[in-house]
């Protein structure tokens, strides 16, 4: 009997489309820059500094809210969440809270997994990222930490799910589906290191829920769930009670590690942020955001339908910027392939991208075009999918034609025998056969060996 596994996720996503931080005008473009260049009194928590909300952050966050079918609260508030840590300049984080009279940005959304299950999204809110701590050499022997505030104050959107996932695969799928949805509205987290971090909550057989903090990437989320379920299951079988705690994820060793202990019970002492007025979401703002998402998608949809593609395929392709981009390129390359391209993109390629966690489709579509041009000749669906997988993974693709009937090759076999008659007439049978097979395989490919053998045998037996 399978004991119940419950997984809930708290996903932190950097709003990478913004040019400035959440509460100050420092540039948000910090990757690859020297430490402490994008800083100001606000994001370093200097005395006397005050936060000012980036209007655009609300709009970008609302795009995600709508894509996840969540409802915005007309009024939401910012709160101070107090905890001391060297990467947090004010020793409190400005975030949103859903108790004590607080309201987050949005509530009650959903995301459908590939297997059809609907995962509920309890709430979505805005908050700021802390800075980053580094160590010279080994952490164990370092005498001090090095703190970089470039990331401090970067806008995050936090997406909190209900514990609706029941397996590591579902958790992984959620992150992958979410990543796709984010890129649909331009938030391409795949392109930015550390832009999507997950706190994974796992409970086994109705036991206590354990939180694994700061897991980066869908694959790691899956591994973290696998390990944590294993750990909790083992304890359960031994009769040891699982303790409710926060654990860290060790990417290298693929295990979760307990933190020092429960003596310091984290108490955040939430208080409304007195320097920030409430966030007001008006009808006008909602419409503006919907237009921004929809407009471009609608344009793409109409264009594809105008190409003669059916509505369902058009909907699928227009909603994913990657699929759309490839569709356009193939269409440009070889217009006659557009129907087939649409079909394959919406079905096989979409499936492969999810299945193999493909970050992005190749810029070069020539391999795909080759596959599509020879699609009818590919003997079976699995082989076609293999070719597509090769292309997606960036490998060079050469489609060998499968001979489907002997009629296609009969003339070529006869011709090969006739052209080489003088060369082979004095060879004994086996050598004659090998020689001619060599030529025929070079022409038709190893895959067709069986049918070539059959036909060559027949032709040779009819030849004097």
């Amino acid at each position: 009997m399978m004991e119940e596994i419950k997984v809930g996720l708290e996903v932190h996503v950097q709003l990478v489309t913004l040019k400035t931080k959440l509460f100050c005008s420092c540039s948000s473009d910090y990757r690859g820059k020297p430490p402490n260049v994008n800083i100001c009194p606000v994001c370093t928590g200097l005395p006397g500094s005050m936060p000012t909300l980036n209007k655009r952050a609300v709009e970008e966050a609302l795009k995600v809210v709508f894509m996840l079918n969540a409802q915005p609260y007309a009024t939401s508030y910012f709160f101070r969440k107090t905890y001391f840590y060297p990467d947090l300049p004010k020793n409190f984080q400005i975030t949103q809270y859903d108790k004590a009279g607080g309201y987050p940005l949005a509530h009650d959304g959903s995301l459908k997994l590939t297997n059809g299950k609907v995962v509920r999204i309890e709430r979505i809110h805005l908050e700021e990222d802390p800075g980053r701590i580094y160590y010279e050499g080994s952490r164990a022997t370092a005498k001090y930490s090095l703190i970089d505030y470039n990331r401090s104050g970067i806008a995050l959107i936090e997406i909190v799910t209900a514990p609706d996932m029941s397996s590591a695969e579902e958790a992984r799928d959620f992150v992958e589906r979410l990543t796709t949805i984010l890129s649909d509205v331009g938030i391409n987290v795949r392109d930015y290191e550390g832009a999507l971090r997950v706190d994974v909550n796992v409970s086994y057989a109705g036991g206590e829920r354990v939180e694994v903090k700061n897991v980066t990437g869908a694959a790691s989320v899956e591994k973290a769930v696998v390990y944590e379920v294993f750990r909790q299951k083992t304890m359960h079988e031994k009769g040891i009670k699982v303790v409710r705690e926060t654990r860290a994820w060790d990417e290298k060793r693929r295990i979760t590690i307990g933190s020092r202990g429960k003596e310091f019970e984290e108490e955040y002492r939430y208080m409304p942020e007195p320097d920030l007025p409430p966030v007001i979401i008006t009808e006008a703002l909602m419409q503006k955001v919907k237009d921004e998402i929809g407009g471009s998608q609608e344009e793409r949809y109409n264009e594809i339908v105008n190409d003669g593609i059916n509505e369902e395929l058009a909907k699928k392709i227009s909603s994913d910027k990657q699929l759309y981009s490839v569709y356009e390129k193939v269409k440009f390359y070889e217009p006659t392939l557009k129907q087939l391209a649409a079909n394959v993109l919406a079905n096989e390629i979409s499936y492969l991208m999810k299945r193999y966690s493909v970050k992005s489709l190749p810029d070069d579509v020539s391999g795909l075009v080759e596959i599509l041009q020879n699609y009818k000749s590919i003997p079976d669906h699995d082989t076609a999918v293999d070719y597509l997988k090769k292309w997606i993974e960036g490998e060079k693709v050469k489609v060998s034609l499968q001979v489907t009937s002997v009629n296609e090759i009969h003339d070529d076999v006869v011709k090969a025998v006739a052209e080489n008659y003088d060369k082979i007439k004095n060879l004994e049978y086996t050598k004659k056969f090998e020689f001619l097979m060599g030529i025929l395989i070079r022409k038709f490919g190893k895959e067709n060996k069986k049918v070539l053998v059959e036909e060559l045998t027949k032709v040779l037996s009819e030849t004097p």
């Binding site: 913004l18 400035t20 005008s25 260049v37 980036n54 004590a100 580094y134 007195p274 920030l276 007025p277």
Partner: protein, 88 residues
């Protein structure tokens, strides 16, 4: 003792010296008396936020603060990083 100086100082990351303990206790109790007066106030039916008035008007346009001016005031710096205590 309702207001545990030990617990509150620990939560507030403060150290109370022996020579100031008595004085601080007096102040804490005096403020405590003011707090206790609130007991006779009818609590609101629902928690609420008394938010400041004002609007959010900042556009997403970067502006540069001279970061060197801030690094200059850091207590300890190494290669532009702020040097801090070791975290486990």
């Amino acid at each position: 003792m309702k207001y545990s100086i030990n617990k509150l100082s620990r939560l507030s990351m403060l150290k109370i010296r022996k020579d100031e303990e008595k004085m601080i206790s007096k102040k804490v109790l005096a403020i405590g008396e003011l707090l206790e007066k609130l007991d006779s106030i009818e609590p609101p039916k629902e928690a609420f936020v008394l938010a400041p008035e004002g609007t959010h008007e900042r556009n997403d346009i970067p502006s540069n603060f001279n970061s060197d001016e801030i690094i200059k005031i850091f207590n300890s710096v190494k290669d532009r990083y702020a040097k801090g205590p070791k975290t486990l």
